[in-house]
């Protein structure tokens, strides 16, 4: 399967690169020939549904899981063979933060710092940096999920890394916690670090990422700059009619393409051009389907993602028409 590359200008330096990466667990194929490219100095989103191989890919990069085949590089060094040489430049939080439950936050970091040969003073610095300066004596098991996430970020900062890997960092967090993580990721990127964040939350990625890779069934389907995924031509018209089947068929005959999202049709042009809302309304009226709702919205990452993974969803539902669930990924923005 070829990858849909959407780089306006292909980066010359990659923080992470994989080639034909594959991993199976028994008969379950988790990663099936993945070619990933993460540019240096950006926030790069790794998008995909649950079970698409994101976490497995990150674990392979970090040497926690052994790849069946393929090559991986971090800052140009082959991993896992040369992982010990590059690990001090990498900080990672894979899934939920895991520390020693009965030990205090400070002591957990001190243990890690000692294993690295880092001065204990650095522990106080990173705790302050993530806003846990006054909570260092709390036991890990007594802390909220937000505090645990912040501790995990503090741990990654012990090494002063150039690459940070976050796997689903906002899972289970409240809105304030999510905002904090998002702000932290942007600040890290603006400080010149590379951030690789894996998520199924498209709206979150849309707000922080500079570039994305879309994964489906263990492969990269598309990757490139976020702006290229949200280019101006990809506008859609959102309509609501009484009979979506009749309306969808009429639109198809008129050269449009429609996707049912909840109770509304998202209409684009089959040739990729910008759909004219008046033409859409006329087409529907001709078959006595008068829109009760019509909004012109710019492309969202959600729509781009759904378009890219339509075949994946179709296969997954065994031939049934693709129907995205309402409210799963957020709503479009009126332009």
């Amino acid at each position: 399967m070829s990858v849909d590359h959407r780089w306006s200008r292909t980066p010359t330096q990659w923080a992470v690169r994989t080639n034909d990466l594959a991993k199976s667990f028994g008969r379950n194929v988790a990663v099936a020939g993945l070619d990933l490219h993460v540019p240096v100095g950006a926030v790069h989103g790794l998008l995909g549904p649950n079970g698409s191989g994101k976490t497995t890919t990150l674990r392979m990069l970090l040497g926690l899981v052994h790849a069946d085949r393929g090559q991986m590089e971090i800052f140009g060094l082959r991993v896992p063979e040369r992982l010990p040489e590059v690990i001090n430049r990498v900080g990672a939080i894979v899934e939920s933060p895991k520390f020693y439950p009965s030990i205090t936050l400070r002591r957990n970091l001190e243990i890690l710092a000692m294993s690295l040969g880092v001065n204990r003073r650095r522990v106080t610095e990173v705790l302050l940096e993530v806003g846990l300066g006054g909570r260092g004596d709390n036991r890990f098991q007594q802390c909220s999920l937000g505090m645990k996430q912040r501790l995990a970020i503090a741990a990654t900062l012990l090494k002063e890394p150039q690459l940070l890997i976050f796997d689903e960092p906002t899972n289970g967090l409240d809105p304030a916690g999510i905002h904090e993580i998002r702000t932290t990721m942007r600040a890290l990127a603006e400080a010149g670090r590379t951030v690789l964040v894996s998520s199924h939350d498209l709206s979150e990625i849309e707000q922080v990422a500079d570039s994305v890779s879309v994964i489906g069934r263990g492969r990269v389907i598309a990757e490139g700059e976020l702006a290229e995924f949200l280019s101006g031509d990809e506008v859609n018209v959102e309509v609501e009619v009484d009979n979506n089947v009749v309306g969808s068929e009429a639109l198809r005959r008129a050269g449009f393409r429609s996707t049912l999202v909840g109770s509304r049709l998202h209409v684009t042009r089959a040739d990729g051009g910008r759909p004219d809302p008046r033409a859409v309304a006329r087409t529907l009226a001709a078959v006595d389907q008068y829109p009760s709702h019509l909004v012109v919205s710019r492309a969202t990452l959600e729509q781009a993602y759904l378009d890219l993974t339509a075949d994946e969803h179709l296969s997954a539902t065994q031939g049934r028409p693709t129907t995205a669930q309402p409210g799963l990924f957020g709503k479009g923005v009126v332009s």
Binding site: F25, R59, L62, G63, L64, V65, H66, P80, L83, P84, I87, V90, G91, A92, V94, P97, K98, F99, Y100, P101, S102, I103, T104, R107, E110, I111, L112, M114, S115, L116, G117, A155, L158, K159
Partner: protein, 306 residues
Amino acid sequence: MSDLVRAEFLRLVSRRVMWILLAGAVVVAALVAVSASSGTRPLDAEDHAHAQLQADEANASNVQYCKDFPEDCPDHEFVAADFLRQPLDYEPYIRGVTDGGLLFVAFGAVLAAALIGGEFRSGSISTQLTFTPRRTPLMAAKLLAATTGAVSLTAVYFTTGTVIGTISFLMVRGAGDLTATAAMPLMMLRMLLAALLVSALAAALTFVVGSTLLAVGLGLLAVVASEILSFDPYSFVSAWLWLLPMPNLMTILYTDYEYTRYDPVLMEHVPVVAMGFGQAVVYGVVLVLVTAVVGAIVFRRRDLLR
């Protein structure tokens, strides 16, 4: 490597459960020493009177027995000396107290397995590997720390038992009777050696199977199977006794430990000197090393999904 070892020891002493267990060892040792100290008390008039009473009761029973079974009537009379308790001297008293250390040898093995297995279960070992990705040095550091923690339980028990036992003995008998041979510290050293080998083996086995429960289960299975096989009354198994873990452990703990087997010619159980102390130690060391090597290979190849 030294940073890793220091980190692991810091983790060990930071765990509240470690201090609770050490405190428990102190309490248990103190209780055993104090309760056993009554056996060191010198004989007094009450002891003599109690012994005389028991002798009189035994003789009275005999009178009735002789009336009922005159052909089986015993030909001697019981005296008080037959029932007088023997006050424990210092060395047998302390040995009796420190024999309880065997419990802590077993407990230490479970602790060592739990310290390692807990990291697999919680996933904290994955977090560590994102900082120090070389698995074999990390495993070695964890084995060293877990074994030290486990052996310290036995050592604390011995130390407390010996100190409090000595104080109790001095209070009861005075310094004049405080005599001991080299056998006493040698016995403690053997028990510490046993604790070291057993806990190292448990920790290494946990790296092989990746689970506390599996490691403890396999260990129990090995102990039970070993005991069942070593009690074989015929010579079939005795030739292979040296391969079984329990005979070797018993030889390390009690150098005069003997196994017997039934001799069909003599029609009695005859002692079998199974193996020597040195042989048992070599067995233990080789078993630990082999398990550790297998554990290192398995750990290096294990996919850490937590």
